[in-house]
C-alpha cells in the first residue's frame, strides 16, 4: 500500500479528528464540525452529480428540509433530537426520491432548471409558511443533551458528526465500488447504452437522488443542532453554489475529492472571514481557476503525482499490477 495513499492519509486525518476537541478552542471546534457537515453534503452531491451525472440544484433545499424537519419536530411536537434527527433525514430522502421522477424525462439544463425551481419553491415555503416555519426570522431549536456522558454539547455533537461522516464515507465507497456505482456511471456516460443492457434508469436515478437527499438531510439535522437556530437564508442559492464549488475544487466523481473540497472551501472561507470582501473575491477566483485549469479538482493532481489515490471506477488508466491477475485468469475455463 502506498505510504501517502488516500487510505493512509484519511486514516491519519481521522485519527487527528478524534483528538481535535482536546486541543481546539470553541471556535476551532465549530469550524471542524462545519467541515464534517459539509463533507456529508459534498459526498451526497458528488454521488448525484459526479457519479450519476444528474445536474441537479436541489441539494441546498434538501439540506434545509433536513434542518427544518429536525428543528420543527422538536419545537412543534416536542420530539427529542434523537428522534427528530432521523425523521429529518428520512423526509429529505423521500423528497429526493420523488425528485427522480422529473429526472427520468429531463436531463442537462432542463433538469438543472426544474430542480432550481424546486429549490426556490422550498425557499418560498420556508419564508412564507410562517405558522409552521416562523418565516424569515427563523426559530431556535432546543439544545441537545449528551447526559449521562460527561461531555459538553459542542464536543458531543462534534463526535456525533465525526462518527456519522466516517460511516457515510465507508457506505459511499462501498456503493460506488458495487454494481450500483457502475450503474450510476453507465447512466452518466450513456443512458441509451445503459437502458439497452437492462439498467433500470428510474431505479438508479431514484437511488442517486435518494442517497443524495439522505446525506443532505442528515447534514441539515446536524447543522440545525450545531447552530441551535434555523432560518431560510442558510439554504439559499449561495448555499448551492458553495456545495457545487466543493465538488468542483475537490474533484467531481470522487469521494476523496468531496472530503478534500469540503475541507478546502470551509477552511479558506473561515481564514478569510476577517478580511472584508476577500471571501467573495478569493472564492470566485478559485472556482474560475479550477474550472479553467484543473477540471479534475485537487484529487486529479494527487492521482497523477501520488500513488494510492485511485478510487473504484476511477482507476482504468492504470495497467493491472503484476501481482493482481485479471479475474478471468483465476477462473477455471468452462467446458465447451
Amino acid at each position: 500500500m502506498a505510504l501517502l495513499g488516500r487510505r493512509n492519509v484519511f486514516l491519519l486525518l481521522a485519527a487527528i479528528a478524534c483528538v481535535v476537541p482536546a486541543f481546539a478552542n470553541p471556535y476551532h471546534l465549530f469550524v471542524a464540525n462545519l467541515v464534517l457537515i459539509y463533507a456529508l453534503l459534498a459526498i451526497g452531491l458528488n454521488i448525484l452529480v459526479g457519479y450519476a451525472g444528474q445536474l441537479a440544484f436541489a441539494n441546498a433545499a434538501m439540506f434545509g428540509i433536513g434542518a427544518y424537519t429536525t428543528g420543527l419536530l422538536q419545537v412543534h411536537f416536542s420530539f427529542p433530537f434523537w428522534l427528530a434527527f432521523p425523521c429529518g433525514a428520512l423526509v429529505a430522502t423521500v423528497i429526493g426520491l420523488a425528485l427522480a421522477l422529473p429526472a427520468l424525462r429531463l436531463s442537462g439544463l432542463y433538469l438543472a432548471l426544474s430542480t432550481l425551481a424546486f429549490a426556490q419553491f422550498t425557499q418560498w415555503v420556508f419564508l412564507h409558511w410562517e405558522k409552521i416555519t416562523f418565516g424569515a426570522g427563523g426559530f431556535k431549536t432546543p439544545r441537545i443533551s449528551f447526559d449521562p456522558l460527561p461531555i459538553s454539547k459542542p464536543v458531543g455533537l462534534y463526535y456525533l458528526s465525526l462518527v456519522i461522516v466516517i460511516a457515510f464515507v465507508i457506505f459511499a465507497q462501498n456503493v460506488i465500488a458495487s454494481r450500483i456505482g457502475r450503474a450510476f456511471v453507465a447512466v452518466r456516460d450513456s443512458e441509451p447504452a445503459a437502458a439497452s443492457l437492462g439498467v433500470d434508469l428510474l431505479r438508479y436515478k431514484a437511488l442517486a437522488f435518494g442517497i443524495s437527499g439522505f446525506y443532505a438531510g442528515t447534514a441539515g439535522g446536524l447543522y440545525s443542532q450545531m447552530l441551535n437556530f434555523v432560518s431560510p437564508e442558510g439554504y439559499d442559492l449561495f448555499q448551492m453554489v458553495l456545495q457545487k464549488a466543493m465538488i468542483v475544487i475537490g474533484g467531481i466523481g470522487s469521494i476523496a475529492g468531496s472530503l478534500l473540497g469540503a475541507g478546502t472551501v470551509i477552511l479558506l472561507l473561515e481564514a478569510l472571514r476577517e478580511v472584508k470582501g476577500a471571501q467573495e473575491v478569493v472564492f470566485g477566483g478559485l472556482l474560475v481557476l479550477f474550472v479553467i485549469f484543473l477540471r479534475g479538482g485537487i484529487v486529479s493532481v494527487l492521482r497523477r503525482y501520488v500513488a494510492g489515490w485511485d478510487e473504484p471506477l476511477r482507476n482504468p488508466q492504470r495497467e493491472a499490477e503484476p501481482d493482481a491477475p485479471p479475474i478471468a485468469a483465476t477462473v477455471e475455463k468452462p467446458a465447451q
Binding site: 453507465a186 450513456s190 439497452s196 443492457l197 437492462g198 482504468p316 479475474i327 478471468a328
Partner: protein, 234 residues
C-alpha cells in the same frame, strides 16, 4: 422464434415504421438492411424496449413482448449491441463487462461468462483495466459485444457492428458474428454494409422508408436487381 407483426412506431406525428412484419427463427442470422433514415435503429430500439410501439405485435417464444421494458426483455434474453459501440468510456473494460450482467445475480456464473468473453476476444485480456474509451474502434466493438454477452442473451440484436471499422477489422467482425451463431446465438443484424450481411446472414430484409421493401435469402443479395434498386437506388 421472434415474430414481428404489423409493427408501427411513431415519434409524435411522424410515423417511422409502417406495418413491419418479419420472423427471426431460432439459431439463424437474419439481416435487416437499409440506408440512413430507413428506420433500422428505431426497429431495433423497439424490439429491445427502448421505444414504445404505436401498434402491432412482437411475439418472443409465444409470449407478447411489445411494449415491455428493456430490463424485462434483457431478462428474457433479448439484448442489443448498440450503434457506434457506445461503451462507457471512463469505465475500465472489466467494469464495462460486469455491467453487462447488471440484471443477473449469479456471481460465479458471471465470472465464468467473463472468462468466456475473454476467450472469444483474447485481445481484451491485457486491457481489462484500461479505460474502454482509450481502446481502438475494433476493440471497443469487442467490448460492446462482450458486454452484451454478459447478459446471457439468446437473441443478439446488433446495430451496424461494422460501422466505422477498418476493412481488416470488419473481416474479424464477420468471423465473430459467425462464431457467436455457432455457439447457439440467434442474431438479428442491422447493417448498411451489404457485404457483411451477405457474408453472414441466411435471410435478409431491406427496410426503406419504414417499410420492408424486400425479403429473401441473403445469398446472392448483391446480384438481386430488386435489392439494388430499392437499397442502392440503381
Amino acid at each position: 422464434m421472434l415474430e414481428v407483426r404489423h409493427l408501427k412506431v411513431s415519434y409524435g406525428l411522424t410515423q417511422v415504421l409502417h406495418d413491419v412484419s418479419f420472423d427471426v427463427p431460432d439459431g439463424k442470422i437474419v439481416a435487416m438492411l437499409g440506408g440512413n433514415g430507413s428506420g433500422k435503429t428505431t426497429l431495433l430500439n423497439t424490439l429491445t424496449g427502448l421505444v414504445k410501439p404505436a401498434g402491432g405485435s412482437v411475439m418472443f417464444e409465444n409470449a407478447e413482448c411489445a411494449g415491455l421494458s428493456a430490463y424485462d426483455l434483457v431478462r428474457r434474453g433479448i439484448v442489443q449491441v448498440p450503434q457506434g459501440r457506445d461503451v462507457w468510456p471512463s469505465m475500465s473494460v472489466e467494469d464495462n463487462l460486469f455491467l453487462g450482467a447488471v440484471t443477473r445475480h449469479d456471481r460465479a456464473e458471471i465470472r465464468k461468462d467473463q472468462a468466456n468473453v475473454l476467450e472469444l476476444f483474447p485481445k481484451l485480456m491485457p486491457k481489462l483495466r484500461r479505460a474502454a474509451g482509450s481502446l481502438s474502434g475494433g476493440e471497443q466493438q469487442m467490448v460492446a459485444i462482450g458486454r452484451a454477452l454478459m447478459a446471457r442473451p439468446r437473441y443478439l440484436l446488433m446495430d451496424e457492428p461494422s460501422a466505422g471499422l477498418a476493412p481488416a477489422i470488419v473481416s474479424d467482425m464477420v468471423d465473430t458474428i459467425l462464431a457467436l451463431n455457432e455457439r447457439g446465438l440467434t442474431i438479428l443484424l442491422v447493417e448498411q454494409n451489404i457485404g457483411v450481411a451477405a457474408a453472414v446472414a441466411e435471410h435478409a430484409h431491406v427496410l426503406q422508408n419504414g417499410e420492408i421493401a424486400f425479403s429473401g435469402p441473403a445469398a446472392g443479395l448483391l446480384d438481386d436487381p430488386a435489392v439494388l434498386r430499392s437499397y442502392l437506388g440503381r
